[in-house]
């Protein structure tokens, strides 16, 4: 799974969000490193919806502006959990090797 996709799923993990909300959340989580553009975001949302990981939640009009919210499906939560576990394992393996190389590394 690509980093941007992982971050979109993570952004939707705690609550339903609209497009711009997802972009902001992803930017915040990645420390401003991943800046999603609308084309990429909606393409990813289409793909995740087709895969049954994300679904449409509700539509709101706030100050005359259309907001369409998306939420994580049950399969999306499972996929996010499995990807998180995979990344944790990889990170642990990398940390342990680095620690062996340099015992002082925290």
């Amino acid at each position: 799974m690509r980093e941007a996709t992982f971050l979109i799923l993570t952004a939707l993990a705690d609550e339903a969000r609209h497009g711009y909300g997802i972009i902001q959340e992803v930017a915040q989580m990645s420390g401003g490193r991943v800046k999603l553009l609308p084309g990429t975001l909606y393409s990813a949302l289409d793909r995740l919806t087709a895969q049954g990981l994300v679904e449409f939640d509700r539509e709101e009009v706030v100050d005359g502006r259309l907001r369409r919210y998306y939420r994580l499906c049950a399969d999306g939560r499972t996929e996010l959990a499995s990807q998180t576990a995979r990344l944790r394992e990889l990170a642990s393996a990398a940390e342990s090797r680095l620690r062996n190389l340099r015992p002082n590394l925290a």
């Binding site: 497009g19 553009l37 084309g39 909606y42 087709a50």
Partner: protein, 355 residues
């Protein structure tokens, strides 16, 4: 501007998501450069045209189809540009022969202009020539040319004739390449009677001046005529922009056409969809087999000898030699397109009739 760029998305998608995307674009506008956002929008819009958002292979198939369409369109564009090239003039040939070999008795010289830019067996393309083109004689579709031949060599020997020709071409302002030596005839390799070293060779010199190309053959003693000249037209400058423009339009058209079919196939019956996919794959393979068989052959040919005029693009992609499989693939594609248009069977709603 973004509203215009949204045109890269299919119409149904724009109706459903267009307003939402525009709102998000407005939100991020202060933080991003417009050009990058626009390019990203067009890229993903073109992807959205293909439908099947979870599929990766659909992009590969679309690319293969679109590039083939681009190559066919570019060939057509170049062909159209060629039709606008300056017609060959037999007076120009006569003047050239007279300038290179004044007073030399000619055996034969064309005294009429060719009937068309391209000919099949000496005649312009017509419905009568279609069977020849389709059934194996596609290679006979070629550039028209005019020519002249001499009864004897203008100099005593072939080497002296060659040296004299080069000298006179240079003096007359022709740009010419290295002479090409080729066997007058072939013999069966490994046959005891076959001795390639004893086969006489023919000499060919290509030259160009302006938009005229001259092809001079100095033949061996066993060949008649001993010397001949052919004049044809150089590639018109309009062929290059026409080819590039037609390639871009053809590729875009192919992508849009594929997207249209792909989105409809998504909604069609599973059996029709599977059959249409198979037919599409078969047709595209048929196209690419023609292209991939022809390209190495043409590339080898071009690398072996200098060309003042490259063979036209359609010959590189196997046309019209392999026009039968090309047209057959189109028929298969049209049938596949019809198949995905068939209405999907839906169970009839049963009305509950209360007693």
């Amino acid at each position: 501007m973004h509203r215009w760029l949204l045109l890269s998305y299919p119409r149904a998608y724009r109706r459903e998501r267009g307003a939402e995307i525009l709102e998000t674009l407005q939100d991020i506008a202060p933080q991003h450069r417009g050009l990058r956002v626009g390019a990203n929008l067009v890229r993903h819009g073109l992807r959205a045209r293909l439908g099947r958002p979870a599929s990766r292979s659909v992009v590969a198939w679309a690319a293969v189809f679109a590039v083939a369409c681009g190559l066919f369109a570019a060939s057509f564009g170049i062909w159209v540009a060629w039709l606008g090239s300056r017609p060959l003039d037999h007076h120009e040939l006569a003047a050239t022969v007279d300038q290179l070999y004044p007073g030399e008795p000619v055996r034969d010289i064309d005294r009429q202009d060719p009937p068309a830019v391209f000919i099949v067996y000496g005649s312009p393309l017509s419905w009568q020539s279609v069977p020849s083109l389709l059934f194996g004689d596609g290679g006979e579709y070629e550039f028209a040319g005019i020519g002249a031949s001499f009864t004897r060599l203008p100099a005593v020997t072939r080497q002296k004739t060659l040296a004299q020709l080069q000298e006179r071409l240079r003096a007359a302002g022709w740009d010419f390449g290295e002479p090409i030596y080729s066997n007058s005839y072939d013999c069966i390799p490994n046959d005891p009677r076959c001795d390639p070293t004893s086969i006489p060779s023919d000499i060919t010199v290509y030259a160009q001046r302006g938009d005229n190309i001259l092809e001079v053959h100095i033949n061996s003693d066993s060949t008649t005529p001993l010397m001949s000249l052919g004049m044809s037209r150089a590639t018109p400058w309009a062929a290059y922009p026409a080819g590039v423009l037609a390639f871009l339009l053809g590729t875009l058209g192919g992508w849009v056409l594929f997207g249209w079919a792909s989105r409809r196939a998504e909604r069609s019956h599973a059996v029709a969809q599977a059959l249409a996919k198979f037919m599409f794959g078969f047709a595209v393979v048929l196209w690419w087999v023609s292209i991939l068989l022809s390209v190495p052959h043409m590339l080898t040919h071009h690398l072996q000898e200098a060309h003042y005029r490259w063979h036209p693009l359609w010959e590189w992609i196997g046309q019209p030699v392999l026009s039968l499989p090309f047209l057959f693939a189109w028929v298969v594609l049209i049938l596949a397109g019809g198949l995905i248009q068939l209405p999907r069977h839906r169970p009839v709603d049963r009305k509950v009739i209360s007693p």
